[in-house]
Homo-oligomer: 445 residues x 2
């Protein structure tokens, strides 16, 4: 157990999760103190030691970018903030009555808690599918997908069994939302543009990428014409789009569909479902959770019944004034983190307020985008809808701007553009794990 100071001048602000929402809170919250008083401590707890630029995670999965290019160590990002302590640890539960975060056999007390633990892949009650159908939420997931797909094609090159070769050369992506569309586009491009020059014995043109979506169109929250455009653009990359069917079972060698057919494959990628971190269950007594475990928060983003606890990012269920749900995207998470930082600063300056007296969060919709391969995309902002190359240029521009702020170095931008456009070959290495030995018990990671 970690003892924390209980000095009322030095309250503990505990933040769980160093994603977009948690990091935006930390970067924007500079709690004022009385003259000469020590600054209060902000404690950021994260399972990982890095912040991840999640919108580009699918690029790591398709070996277009290296893992290090979309991640930054939290300690380095927050290095100048002497009032912030990073703890690389996993919050296992929360005790809202005694205001404590539990991390295994340790506890940490909080005066304010910012819950920014994000989401995880959901298999709709079929968690055993996970070992055959990895999701895409972490760097580890992305590297696992990359290793599997690259290894499958390497394996196909070495064997003579044609049925097994077909299985190894078939990639099934489940889910036609933004994650599934981006993954399928990336895999289509990987096979068509990269693999074709790499192999000698297998004919890569016979490889298949199949995208499965249970709705009658892709990207169902997008306008219909963009759904149709996304489908056309995927088909140009050789992706077979199958609509109106659902995966009913996932096996080692094939997937079963609810229309009675099945697809022989060794590569199933899961882009279908997201649920909130299980930590939200701690607030089920006083707050309502939706089916995905997201907390229905107060308008100020505080958790009902716990004015000192705020929920931000992907684990929040909130609707805008127009009645639309706030989407689980990076800009929403950033805006929420900043909003809570402002509220907390305000309370330190002017004293505590009840949730209903606090300023309500307003989501500023910057539009939605999904990219398809390296030169195609669909995008819409309000009434403006664009698709194809220009949508992709817009997507690239916005993400590069983001990355530059994020990594803060122009030379990195140059290198990154080059890598991105040239299909950086270095990222195509497979780092094996078969010779792995157990690590020391003391520092198991």
């Amino acid at each position: 157990m970690i003892e924390q100071p209980t000095d009322p001048d030095r309250p503990n602000l505990v933040v769980i999760g160093g994603g977009f929402a948690g990091l935006a809170f930390c970067q924007n919250c500079k709690v004022p103190t009385r003259p000469n008083a020590p600054a209060p401590e902000i404690i950021l707890i994260d399972k990982q030691n890095h912040h991840l630029f999640q919108p580009l995670l699918y690029q790591v999965a398709m070996a277009g970018l290296a893992a290090t290019e979309i991640a930054a160590p939290l300690r380095a990002v927050l290095g100048k903030r002497q009032d912030i302590t990073c703890l690389m640890d996993e919050a296992t539960s929360i005790d809202p009555v005694n205001k404590k975060v539990v991390m295994g056999d340790r506890e940490i007390a909080y005066d304010y808690l910012v819950l920014a633990a994000g989401g995880r892949t959901s298999y709709f009650g079929n968690d055993h599918w996970e070992k055959h159908a990895p999701g895409l939420k972490t760097l580890h997931d992305a590297l696992r997908i990359r290793r599997r797909v690259l290894t499958a094609f390497e394996k196909a090159e070495t064997i003579l069994d044609t049925a097994e070769q077909e299985r190894l050369m078939t990639i099934v992506v489940v889910g036609g939302g933004p994650t599934g569309v981006e993954l399928a586009g990336a895999m289509g491009e990987l096979v068509q543009k990269v693999f074709h020059r790499d192999f000698r014995r297998i004919d890569v043109r016979t490889a298949r990428v199949i995208l499965i979506e249970s709705n009658e169109r892709l990207l169902k929250v997008y306008p219909e014409e963009l759904s149709a455009s996304a489908q056309r653009q995927l088909e140009q990359l050789g992706v077979e789009v199958r609509l109106g069917v659902r995966v009913s079972n996932v096996h080692d060698t094939h997937v079963e569909l609810n229309d009675g057919t099945s697809i022989q494959t060794r590569n199933v990628l899961w882009g279908a479902g997201v649920a909130a971190s299980p930590l939200t269950a701690a607030f089920a007594d006083s707050a309502e959770l939706d089916r995905g475990g997201r907390i229905k928060v107060n308008p100020d983003l505080s958790v009902p019944g716990h004015p000192e606890v705020f929920a931000v990012g992907d684990l929040v269920n909130l609707t805008t004034k127009d009645g639309d749900p706030v989407p689980g995207v990076a800009p929403a998470a950033l805006q929420m983190g900043k909003h809570v930082a402002k509220l907390v600063e305000h309370e330190f300056k002017h004293g505590k307020q009840p949730p209903e007296a606090r300023e309500a969060f307003e989501y500023w919709d910057k539009g939605s985008m999904a990219t398809i391969g390296r030169k195609r995309a669909v995008a819409w902002v309000g009434k403006l809808k664009i698709s194809g190359f220009f949508a992709w240029v817009a997507w690239l521009g916005i993400h590069l701007m983001f990355l530059v702020t994020f990594r803060n170095k122009v030379s990195v931008l140059v290198q990154w553009c080059y890598s991105y456009l040239a299909f950086r070959r270095g990222a195509r290495i497979i780092i094996p794990k078969n010779d792995d030995k157990p690590d020391q018990p003391g520092v198991r990671d």
Copy 2:
């Protein structure tokens, strides 16, 4: 089993290992064929799908470079050579009588074999130490060392047990040869220059890096004055050098030394011993192997008793005309690969020759170098000995030239220089493996 063509016009040249020696052979061997005849097939077998720039592996271990920056996929490096097929597979044994390489349940026949399988870490009969004391031969090793050391300091930051904190903050490097010296220097710099600004609760100045060498001086094959200089330079980086003691046992929590003392530590890095690939045992009947399993080859680099088999790189035991051993370094491996490529080409043009009629290999010594941290090194070429900053600049120049040829892109050079000098922060991320699930049986890697 893979069937290979037995057409005498299309002999199989099988190469085991895509390191410096194997790759140099492939790149330099362009076997001439009769007009209009199809080119013979060169088959390159490697456990990994990438070539590794091993001299910089310790930089990956200390989080100074990303794994992808020192590796290149073999398929990409050899992409233009339609006559070369890469198989990502492990050669498990060799049958020199029937001229076959065995890979698990498959076999491949050869007319010429180039054995370039390199070396592996040796624990002098104490293989059980490996789980506590990782060596540094592969990308996986380097990432394991990085993950362990970074995780140990993260863990120290979260706990209150001061004895355990000390263990976590003590790094013991075993072996004072070039690998151990480079590792110890890199770790000293990592702790002194990087960690000091990263942590809040632990005092990184109390962290220790200890280098243990059983001889009375470091770098025993170097001139004595350079050994003394290396020691001084390491001590400037805060490394404690302990000479004349040997590790007698390695435990989870400490190492025992043969002087009766022990050191409490959770981080033991093994830089002490290298042995040849166990594949060399296949030739123990006709050729002499040394204690490390290296083959005592003929002057032309063929294996005694098997004129169609050549051994190159780190698994070779050979002395120069002056009686000095050819060292296990990258330039020697490159030179051997090229030499054998020339011999094989010659035999295809002019017919087979007995080993004694072939040109003998001559090693051109380009000097030796070991770098200590980022601004220090020791180097010698013939009678010239330099140390300190100028030796480091020479080291940097030579390695950068190498890397440029290797990666073949100037923009990579620019990025790399920048990363190298700025302590690229991206590489400091920890990619965990604790949520790892078994992969599909069909594509286990």
